[in-house]
Symmetry: D2
Subunit: 300 residues, 4 copies
């Protein structure tokens, strides 16, 4: 198929290249000139402006957005005047599913199709393929089949339409919530072993043993083994963990639906906690202990 | 009554003085000479050795131990040869209730009574009285009534025999588990308000408002208000919170009994977390995120 | 002062009566005729319509809303045409503070003052007074001083302006978050004791002992002791705990502010969990265990 | 090699068969006659008594115990008189690592080698191989290499000596702690999707999509997909989740080491919670809410 990839950052450029390798015609645009030039060097068809990029597409047009969540609306503002009824816009980024639902309604009013596609796979997707969770009208998704078959790990696996508009990003949100929980479980387990100094364990060896035959074997374990191989003591790495939105959305959604999800919730809270090096709560606890028991306060 | 207080630290000396004020004859002993001297200056009858202290007591003897949990057994080792059948030993400290059960059996074999008394009230107990949770044989506890009536906030309130040997320290353990949870709830609430800078709130004022009429009014809130009055910004206080055993025992007991106690448990874990400034788990999480998503690692 | 109380449910009627006892002139309105009649019998001045109620007030008018959170906007819709610049509306209910901020702006545009007053004290407030956390312009709050002095437990305690519009309901939200955590801490502690059958403990006795001198003494403990006195085994009470909004708002706020608040969060999640008697997550866990280990599944 | 497998339950019989297929001579014993007969029909050399089983082994003997954790000591009591210095006993079950340390010392005093081998792989191990985490003296483990190479998924992968005596079961304990966390993360994520009825999602399809290319791909996800395929609505399965010891040991170990492990901890607590259908804590919460706010209690 012929399509445009809007946003040629790490994810967008890799996906464009995977589509190219799969025999698709891929136009690309990014507001940054260096990103455009690098993409051109990888064989992606680059025009100097968004207008020219869209104008180069055959009708009905297919436009895949792979942009940061906070510029999706402004990207849509720029795109809409350039599109015509029957065209399709795909949001492959990490948008909040409720926004995707509203955006779908907005585009539908202009006669456009909107498809929300949760994309997992990270930097490994170029080589191994991406897991794609797709929301939108069945017919609109159907038309895009060749694209999904190329991006996914295999034509018949790793992708699917999971429901109406919003369902794709909803599923990706849950995916990331689960990911937080799994990551935290591994991190805690390795931290306990690391602290058990009497056994003098080699954590990377343990990770490797578990990769075959164990109940916890998983891609995250493979990556953990790799990280431990490169840097067994985690030297030079600050104990500081970002979160990128989906975790908090999952926690909020669970509460909205009255589902108790303690592990996903605590894995988010631990990330918040990792970024506090001067917790007011803990200082107040120390002060309270001093108040009632005369317990010593550590100076800080 | 006439009794010996073994251990004249902050708690023991205060309790001895409260008993003294209540008209009891209080002998005291502490292995440290300064503690003995200070106690003597408060009117407590001091002998130079444990032997002499015990020898000064009328029979049947009453000995109250107020010593650190890890020297209870060695204190008992020293005491036992000095005591005779019919004497009573009270452990008023924070012993694990299972040890108290075993110690009670040990003393029973020597014809001695053992009473485990969980004591709450901290540095305020001298003035306000102590809350006393007492375990042991009913008859042995009965005899000590005048002592408990004096130590408690009032003769008929704030103390009681809650069950057989061990039940006193069990109850105190649970008390402290609840205390951890309450403290953490307050600490979190004030930390959220502290972070909400747009309202420019005065946390000490809020604490004071809540002290009258609110659902959260409590002694811990009174102390929190006091701590915030003395040091509104918690300046110079490290975010470092000790725990003294009962919290972890409560968590272990809950799990042994198959009771899910998430709040008491998380309040303990937050204390452990407060003492980690270089979490291996968090470093590994950051490394994993870099592995799959190329997310930047903060240098540390 | 002279004011109207709109909403004569349990809270509104009691507050109106406390104001009456304090020498204020209190007009009252409720859409339900029985509530109006009962209020009239307690001495509150009742008019048959909202219009007549407001018309009876001297200018500038003071109107206190004590209505369910979900009818505040419709109540304001009805009130606004009846009010004039300089009048003041107080929302004493459990509104989300962000809505209070927006409502304050809406009323300001009409020249009206809006005061958000978080109210704690429940059914006991009539006798003991209410804890009042007040947000709004300083001048508008100042004028209402006599009202707050009467509603609070004492003229100079238990109430205060904590910040600009919204700050009152924000503070009440945090108060309730803390309340959730404290309640859960007590509930867990008593549940562990209840399960420890070998000690045959009397939970109501333990609660009573703690009420004097202990670190956990608090109004919630007083109520717990009362509940255990009335119904020691909690007979006939379903293990089903509602939540009324402030808890989830506190959890969401903490996450928005990047504050880790594990205890308040888990106390909310436990309430959600209490209302699940057929957890899909737990079924799936049982199915997974069967998949990898052949572990037996309990039929359900 | 030639060895005896003591305990021919699900795990022991499968491991014996895998060793048999790998060319080893496998004697087997189980106190139950049916287990012995079934094992005999699979080609395992069966003698009628433990004595005869051990007597049939060449010296130095190799004995693999695969028995429930609570009969390891009694099995050792029976075995010891039958063994001679230089023989090796392997505990391949789920023993607490501290007991394994003590047992290792006991056997060392009799001149015997003790090897603790944590074994993961469940019912799938026969076909796919087991992940083996081995503790003990290096020389004693070295000798057993051919056995481990056969049991593991591949001769050079999925097994290893991780440290001295106890380290094998310690590592298996942590493995299971991580497993609890991962399982709970998946269970929560699917439960949120199941509750989101507006999307009408097919959970089994989602699981399948994630199996290729996603960050959460893992063996547990494969099993989850399988469980959802067999029983999409989890019909007939009670929301009741057992735990088998390693989870609680991991939680206790983390606390002993002062490591905060909230996710592993909460995944254990959720299992405890799943087995409470009549929570005293929740009843007390409902009673407290009624006390202070007059909130209705659900009858139960």
């Amino acid at each position: 198929m012929e399509l445009a990839m809007i946003g040629l950052g790490r994810m967008g450029a890799n996906m464009a290249e995977r589509l190219l390798r799969g025999g698709h015609q891929v136009h690309g645009f990014d507001p940054g000139a260096p990103a455009r030039e690098q993409a051109a060097s990888r064989g992606i068809l680059i025009a100097p402006t968004l207008e020219a990029t869209i104008a180069a597409l055959p009708s009905p047009r297919v436009v895949w957005m792979m942009v940061p969540a906070d510029v999706v609306d402004s990207t849509l503002d720029s795109l809409l005047p350039l599109l015509a009824p029957g065209d399709t816009v795909i949001d492959g980024g990490n948008s909040n599913y409720k926004l995707s639902q509203r955006r779908g309604e907005r585009l539908a009013q202009a006669g456009l199709h909107y498809v929300d596609c949760g994309t997992s796979g990270g930097v490994w997707g170029l080589a191994e393929g991406y897991s794609l969770m797709i929301g939108g009208e069945a017919a609109a998704v159907e038309v895009l089949t060749p694209i999904f078959q190329t991006l996914a790990p295999a034509a018949d696996r790793g992708w699917g339409r999971v429901g109406p508009g919003g369902a794709g990003h909803f599923t990706k949100m849950i995916h990331n919530g689960i990911e937080y929980g799994m990551m935290q479980a591994f991190a805690e387990g390795f931290a306990i072993m690391q602290r058990k100094q009497e056994f003098g364990m080699d954590l990377q060896q343990v990770a490797d043993i578990w990769r075959d035959g164990s109940v916890v074997r998983s891609w995250l374990l493979d990556l953990t083994a790799d990280a431990l191989r490169k840097n067994p003591g985690m030297a030079g790495i600050a104990p500081y963990v970002e979160d990128s939105g989906e975790g908090r959305w999952t926690v909020a959604e669970a509460i909205d639906l009255n589902v108790s999800a303690p592990v996903i919730t605590m894995s988010l809270l631990e990330r918040l906690r990792s970024r506090e090096d001067d917790s007011f709560a803990d200082k107040l606890l120390a002060a309270m202990r001093n108040e009632f028991g005369g317990h010593k306060i550590k100076q800080g």
